[in-house]
C-alpha cells in the first residue's frame, strides 16, 4: 500500500496572484487540497491563480482531471490559471492533453509572477 501523501496545498498571495504550492502527489488524494486552495484564492478575489508544480513528483490522469475541473471553474469566473515549475515530463503531458493551450506555462514561480504583473 502506498504511504499517505501530503494532501494539503498552501496558498500564498503575491502581487495580486494566489500561488498554490501543490502537494507532491496529484491524484485522487489531492482533490480536497486543490479545491480548498482554489476556494481560498477565489475568496480573496485573486485574479490569477498560479499552480506551483515545483514539488510535484507524481501526476496521474485523475490529477489531470482535477486540474481540468479547476480550469473550467476558473474560466467561468474569469480567473486566469497558470502553471509553474512543471518537470519536462509533465510539461509534455500538459502539451499532449492540450492543457498548455488553455493555461500559460512558466518555467518557475518567479517568471510566472513577473509576467502576470503586467498582463491578463
Amino acid at each position: 500500500m502506498a504511504t499517505a501523501p501530503e494532501t494539503t496545498a498552501a496558498v500564498r498571495y503575491r502581487q495580486g496572484a494566489a500561488v498554490v504550492d501543490l502537494p507532491p502527489q496529484i491524484d485522487a488524494t489531492a482533490e480536497r487540497a486543490l479545491n480548498d486552495a482554489y476556494a481560498a484564492a477565489a475568496e480573496r478575489n485573486a485574479k490569477t491563480v498560479v499552480l506551483n508544480f515545483g514539488g510535484v513528483d507524481f501526476l496521474s490522469s485523475t490529477g489531470i482531471a482535477l486540474i481540468v475541473g479547476l480550469l473550467a471553474r476558473a474560466r467561468k469566473e474569469h480567473r486566469a490559471i497558470s502553471a509553474a515549475g512543471l518537470s519536462d515530463h509533465y510539461r509534455e503531458i500538459f502539451e499532449i492533453t492540450r492543457l498548455a493551450d488553455f493555461m500559460t506555462i512558466y518555467p518557475d514561480e518567479r517568471t510566472a509572477l513577473g509576467d502576470e504583473r503586467g498582463g491578463e
Partner: protein, 533 residues
C-alpha cells in the same frame, strides 16, 4: 411426513391439556400432561382422517392403529381432524367432558365447524413457522460458509513469487460449499522455492481448519527439512494425531531450484502435476498415501528438471472432475491435451477455464474448488527474458507502488530519461485502470504485473480480473468539451498510455483483462517524437 408428525404432536399435546378432566375439588380444570404421540406415516389413522371422517370418538374406532392406542392412553376421547385443501394438517383432540357426559351431536357439529374455520389459519401459521425455520437454517449455513471462506482466503497467498526467468501464475475459485483446496509458495534456504497444492476431503469450516493446520505445519517444517518426502512424512505424522476421523489431505509438495530448474517432489495422493516440453506432456509420478490417513507413512521422492521453455501445471480435481449437463466428466485426458496446446501463465489458466466453461455450459454450478498453479521457465537466450513479475492488491494508491517496482526492474535497460518517464506514467495509468475498473478496488483481487524483454521490445503486462465484461471504447478526450461540461473531466488514462509508449495491446478473456505496454528498445526510436494530440 416428519413435519406433519411433529405438527400432530404439538396439536395433540396442547389440545389434550385444554380438554383435561377437572378434579371436582378444584375450581379450575387441572392440566393433563400427555406424552407426545408419534403417528407413523403408514398408520391407517392418517388415511381414515384424510378421507373426511369428521369428528371421531376414539373409543369407538375399530382400527389396528398404534396412534389410536396412544391417543386412548393419553385420555383423548374425541378427535376432530383439521383439513386444509384436502391435506390433513393437524388434529383437534379433546379429553373427557367436564360434565362426564358424552359429546353430543351438537357438540360435534360445533367442533367440526370450528375445525373447518381454524384449519386455514393453522395451515398459514405452520407455513410461516416452516419458512422461519428454513430462513434460520439458511442463515446458519451461510454464516458457516462465510467463516470457511474467511479462513481459506486468509491462508491463500496474496501474490505469486517474483522469480527472474520464470513466469508464475495461480488461480483459485471456491465452490459454493467451499472445499478444502489450498496452494502455497514457501521461501526456502539457498533461494529455493517450495510449491504446494493440496485438497482436504470435505467442505466448510472443518475442511478450512484442516487446510489451515496443514499449511501451517508445512510452512514450519519445509525450511528445516527441505527434502519433500521428509516434509510430507512429518506433516502426515503431525496430522494423524489431530485430524478428525474420515478426513485426510492430498498434497503435492515440490522444491524448485529456480537457478537450474531442478525440482524434487513427493506426492501424498494428490492429482499428478503435468509438465510440458514443446507440445509433449508428461505426468510427474511419485507414490504416497494422503496425509492424515495412516501414521508412519513414507513418501517416494523423485526429481525432474524444468528446462528453458518448459511449463509445469499443478492442479486440484475441480477442473478434471467437473461434469456437463449430461453427467460426462471433463476428465484428465482432456485437461492434459489442452495443456499441451495452450500457452503459459494466465493465458494457460484462462484457456483451461474457458474450455471448462464451454464444456459445462453457462448454468453449471461449480462442484468443487478449482486450483491451478503454473510455472513456466523462460525460453532462455534469444527468447523472452523476464525482468520482474509480481502481484499487488487492488488498493487505492498501489498504482504508484506498481510503477516504482516496474521502474526499479527496468532501470537496467538504460532507457533515456524521457522514455523512462513516459513508461512510468503509462504503467501507473494501466495499473490504476486495473485496480479501479478491472478489480473494482477489491483488495482480495491482485493486479498481476510482468515486465519482460524479447526481440528488442520491453513489454509490461498488467492483468486484472475484469474479464468477461464488455469494455466500451472510451471516447477520445476533448479538452474543450471537458471545459464546457460536454465531457466529464476524467477519461485520460488510455489516451495517456497510447501517447506514452510505442504500442498498447489490450486483451480480454472470460476471466481476465490485460494491457500490454510495449516500448521499443532502439534508443533513438520515439525519443523526440512530438506526441502531439
Amino acid at each position: 411426513m416428519m413435519t406433519l408428525t411433529r405438527t400432530f404432536r404439538r396439536v395433540i399435546g396442547r389440545e389434550a391439556e385444554a380438554a383435561a378432566p377437572a378434579k371436582r375439588a378444584e375450581t379450575r380444570a387441572p392440566v393433563l400432561e400427555t406424552p407426545p404421540i408419534d403417528i407413523a406415516p403408514n398408520d391407517p389413522i392418517l388415511a381414515y382422517f384424510t378421507a373426511g371422517s369428521g369428528a371421531v370418538a376414539i373409543d369407538d374406532l375399530q382400527l389396528d392403529s398404534t396412534a389410536v392406542r396412544a391417543l386412548r392412553a393419553a385420555g383423548v376421547k374425541l378427535v376432530v381432524p383439521l383439513i386444509s385443501q384436502g391435506e390433513l394438517i393437524g388434529l383437534l383432540n379433546l379429553g373427557r367432558r367436564l360434565s362426564e357426559q358424552d359429546y353430543s351431536t351438537d357438540d360435534r357439529r360445533l367442533l367440526e365447524k370450528l375445525a373447518a374455520q381454524a384449519s386455514p389459519a393453522v395451515r398459514v401459521a405452520q407455513l410461516v413457522r416452516e419458512q422461519e425455520a428454513e430462513v434460520r437454517a439458511r442463515e446458519r449455513i451461510e454464516q458457516e460458509l462465510r467463516v470457511a471462506q474467511l479462513i481459506q482466503q486468509q491462508f491463500l497467498p496474496k501474490s505469486v513469487p517474483n522469480l527472474p526467468g520464470w513466469q508464475v501464475a495461480a488461480f483459485y475459485r471456491a465452490a459454493a460449499q467451499v472445499g478444502g483446496d489450498f496452494y502455497d509458495f514457501i521461501e526456502l534456504p539457498d533461494d529455493k522455492l517450495g510449491l504446494v497444492v493440496g485438497d482436504v476431503t470435505g467442505h466448510g469450516v472443518p475442511a478450512a481448519l484442516v487446510m489451515a493446520t496443514t499449511r501451517s505445519v508445512l510452512r514450519s517444517e519445509a525450511p528445516r527439512l527441505v527434502a519433500p518426502s521428509k516434509v510430507l512424512e512429518r506433516v502426515n505424522d503431525f496430522l494423524n494425531n489431530d485430524i478428525p476421523q474420515n478426513m485426510f489431505v492430498t498434497c503435492l509438495y515440490a522444491v524448485l531450484d529456480p537457478a537450474t530448474g531442478a525440482m524434487r517432489y513427493a506426492n501424498a495422493g494428490h492429482d499428478l502435476p503435468f509438465v510440458r516440453r514443446g507440445h509433449d506432456v508428461t505426468e510427474l509420478r511419485a507414490t504416497g498415501m494422503p496425509l492424515g490417513a495412516m501414521p508412519g507413512m513414507q513418501y517416494e521422492e523423485k526429481e525432474a528438471t524444468l528446462a528453458p521453455g518448459d511449463v509445469l501445471l499443478l492442479h486440484s480435481d475441480g477442473v478434471a472432475e467437473a461434469h456437463d449437463a449430461g453427467h460426462q466428466m471433463f476428465g484428465f485426458p482432456r485437461m492434459r491435451k489442452l495443456f499441451g496446446d495452450l500457452g503459459s501463465g494466465h493465458e494457460l489458466i484462462d484457456g483451461l477455464l474457458e474450455s471448462l466453461h464451454d464444456f459445462t455450459g453457462p448454468t453449471w454450478e461449480q462442484e468443487d474448488d478449482i486450483t491451478l498453479v503454473t510455472l513456466s521457465r523462460s525460453a532462455g537466450l534469444g527468447g523472452e527474458r523476464v525482468l520482474t513479475e509480481f502481484e499487488e492488491p487492488s488498493a487505492p494508491g498501489n498504482e504508484r507502488r506498481i510503477m516504482d517496482r516496474v521502474a526499479a526492474a527496468t532501470t537496467e535497460l538504460g532507457l533515456d530519461k524521457k522514455r523512462f518517464e513516459r513508461l512510468k506514467t503509462a504503467v501507473s495509468e494501466a495499473a490504476m485502470n486495473a485496480i479501479e475498473h478491472g478489480n473494482r478496488m477489491n483488495v482480495e483481487l491482485p493486479v498481476h504485473v510482468r515486465a519482460s524483454v524479447a526481440e528488442g521490445e520491453l513489454v509490461v503486462r498488467i492483468v486484472d480480473n475484469g474479464g468477461g465484461r464488455d469494455i466500451p471504447e472510451p471516447e477520445t478526450p476533448d479538452l474543450e468539451a471537458k471545459l464546457e461540461g460536454r465531457q466529464k473531466p476524467r477519461g485520460w488514462g488510455l489516451f495517456l498510455m497510447r501517447n506514452m509508449v510505442d504500442d498498447v495491446r489490450i486483451h480480454t478473456t472470460n476471466m481476465h483483462h490485460s494491457i500490454e505496454l510495449v516500448m521499443k528498445l532502439d534508443a533513438t526510436k520515439g525519443a523526440d517524437d512530438g506526441h502531439s494530440a
